[in-house]
Amino acid sequence: MEKITSPEVLDQKISECTEKLNAKITGKGGKRAVLVCGGTGCLANNSKEIIAKLEELIKEKGLSDRISVNHVGCFGFCSQGPFVKIYPEDTLYRAVKVSDVERIVEDDLINGNIVEDLLYVDPQTHEKVARMDDINFYKKQKRIALHGCSVINPDLLEEALGFDGFKALRKVLTEMTPQQVIDEIIESGLRGRGGGGFPTGRKWQFAANVKSDKKYVVCNGDEGDPGAFMDRSILEANPFEVIEGMMIAGYAYGADEGYFYVRAEYPIAVERLLHAIDAMEKAGLLGDNILGTGFNFRCHLRLGAGAFVCGEETALLNSIEGKRGMPRPRPPFPAVKGLWGKPTCVNNVETLAQVGYIIRVGAKEYAKVGTAGSKGTKVFALGGKINNVGLVEVPMGTTLRSLIYDIGGGIPGNKKFKAIQTGGPSGGCLTEKDLDTEIDFDTLVARGSMMGSGGAIVMDEDNCMVDVARFYMDFICDESCGKCSPCRIGTKRIYELLTEIVEGRGTMQTLEELKDLAKITKNNSLCALGQTAANPISSTMANFYDEYLAHIQDKKCPAHVCKSLSKYYIDPEKCKKCSACARACPVNCIKGVPGKEPYVIDQSKCIKCGTCMATCKFGSISHE
């Protein structure tokens, strides 16, 4: 692309690119466009091969000049992937396999007939739905941070420019003073989407108030919460939008350099981000004297090396500086003394992805969406025991019930909903009684959990809450950096106490100790990791005290998850004496005589792996 050297050239580019993208979507000139999901989830499900096959067949049939094939960012509805969308009809095919490609090309692209069996079927009405917007999963969503997901090719600057890209940057550089930008963000009510919920505009104001020869913007893409993939999907789908947000932050408080800190586990996001930075440098949208306005900005990328604590902003800064990712005491806050000692604002990916939209539509318009204390939208990664696993963006104030049942499609297998964990290992679980809570930063805290970065894991009656609490504590123990003792020793001890309980060695005294330790760890740890580490314990204890008691007093795990407390039995009446279980048992602890004597499990040797129960075709094996 030629250099974009002035606002006028940018305007011209934007109008050209917009026209081109619109032509693609509306099928101008009889052309058609095929979009295939190129998010991590669908790529793992062969979407790359699907694209290759599409291209091959289209070329073979001599249709290359009429039909284009592109990958786009995450469609969000990951459990139904891979997706193939066709413009201009806007037909959406789901769960497409490489073997389906031929039919899509032959029936739809050539003969104009919809391939019925690849359409989404509404589980309630059993009707086939051809268009994406008509699917219930999408109806209640509002896409701001996910702008461009499933529409634009994340590798093409032209498509970003054709889909509102860099309009906001142009506006701030040519029409607004830095202070006006900060005021606009403050007025919009935007709060940090990484979990803390600190007002973004105020953070920028702190950094603006400090005089310094050098300032930095850091984008936190170290998405460590297990089960959360919002930031990854945004970076994979529209990296330009996040870079634009970062540049606007830089303009607002006088920074000319930005660092992205992204998990090394996200190779596709990293690749697309690097590509976007390169394309912008070549187009003159990054570098010196951007758009001829005298504004300079450069972007760099640093990879995380696998440490959850680096999501904490001061630990993240240490990691960029090449040190162990241990948190620094605050104050001084990074906005005053951050990266290499210079004023730095650390903003989450999703936060920066909302900035451009706020500038484009104005703070007042943005603030119309949401609740009194939390404006705009929030992206959630719905996972666990839920039908529609995927990425959803909903207005703040949506109820948990709507999130789980209307959008998430409820719990699979008619199982009973038990809890939803928000905020990951730092959050808490919410139960049936919380389902009508309107989601925002403050209500979730009041209910004993927190917003967190957006992971939302649904659990059903088959999950043991004590085991889940222990799972989170195992995670925190692993990830505690070891700098302060309340966290290093406290989390370890909590883990040991929980292990005692799940192994049937717990007493009422153990519970008391747990409560005390939770309090001590919370009040005395240096950073948020330790301060919130006990949240899953406190909230499961508050909501599922009876499960703790069952483990301690009855020595039973009601959900049959905790191995030490469960026993497998073969019902001699039902046993067909086929020996299948005995052959499958990895420790040879099942004995019997084929065809003659029913099989019996030697409880002293049984490792409770459950293989026998899964193997038995006659349902003769049960556990308690």
């Binding site: 499900n45 990951c78 993939f229 586990e265 040190k323």
Partner: protein, 160 residues
């Protein structure tokens, strides 16, 4: 352990390539880890000479981050996702099964140097829970009964 001369030369070159970047230590370590599969103490000393960062500090960084390894890994690195979404769908049982079949614990490598098992925290493929990947190839919705089939796929590749 004896490190080959050309490896040392290469690591020096990697250090030189990044010398003008601010605080490049982790960038260098990531490149060495990526290329050689581990960062032994001997190479840490080379990096220390080149960058001027004390060897003790480099050791501190290497042992802090889970991405870096002090020992060589197997030819096939198996990642079992233990993110929450996979965990609630029985990922632990899948991990246990793989460990039992290979006779090693997470973080260890089989004696023949073929497989390394690692329990990882969320690959972000939550819709595919339980997700298992081998050298980056993702196997979706893995259950304990699928384990042998997956391992055999790679054993057969070796046998060829």
């Amino acid at each position: 352990m004896k490190i080959r001369l050309e490896v040392i030369k290469d690591v020096r070159e990697i250090c030189q390539k990044h010398k003008d970047e601010p605080s490049p230590l982790i960038v260098i370590l990531e490149e060495v880890q990526e290329k050689y599969g581990y960062v032994p103490v001997e190479l840490q000393e080379v990096i220390s000479e080149e960058t001027g960062v004390p060897a003790a500090e480099i050791y501190g960084v290497v042992t802090f981050y889970s991405f870096f390894s002090l020992t060589p890994k197997g030819k096939y690195i198996i990642h079992v996702c233990l993110g929450t979404a996979c965990y609630v769908k029985n990922a632990q049982a899948v991990l246990d099964k793989i460990c039992a079949v290979l006779g090693i614990q997470p973080g260890q490598t089989t004696e023949d140097g073929l497989f390394t098992i690692e329990a990882v925290r969320c690959m972000g493929a939550c819709a595919l829970a339980t997700a298992v990947s081998v050298n980056g190839k993702v196997f979706p919705r893995v259950e304990t009964k699928d384990v042998d089939k997956i391992l055999n796929e790679f054993r057969n590749q070796e046998a060829k």
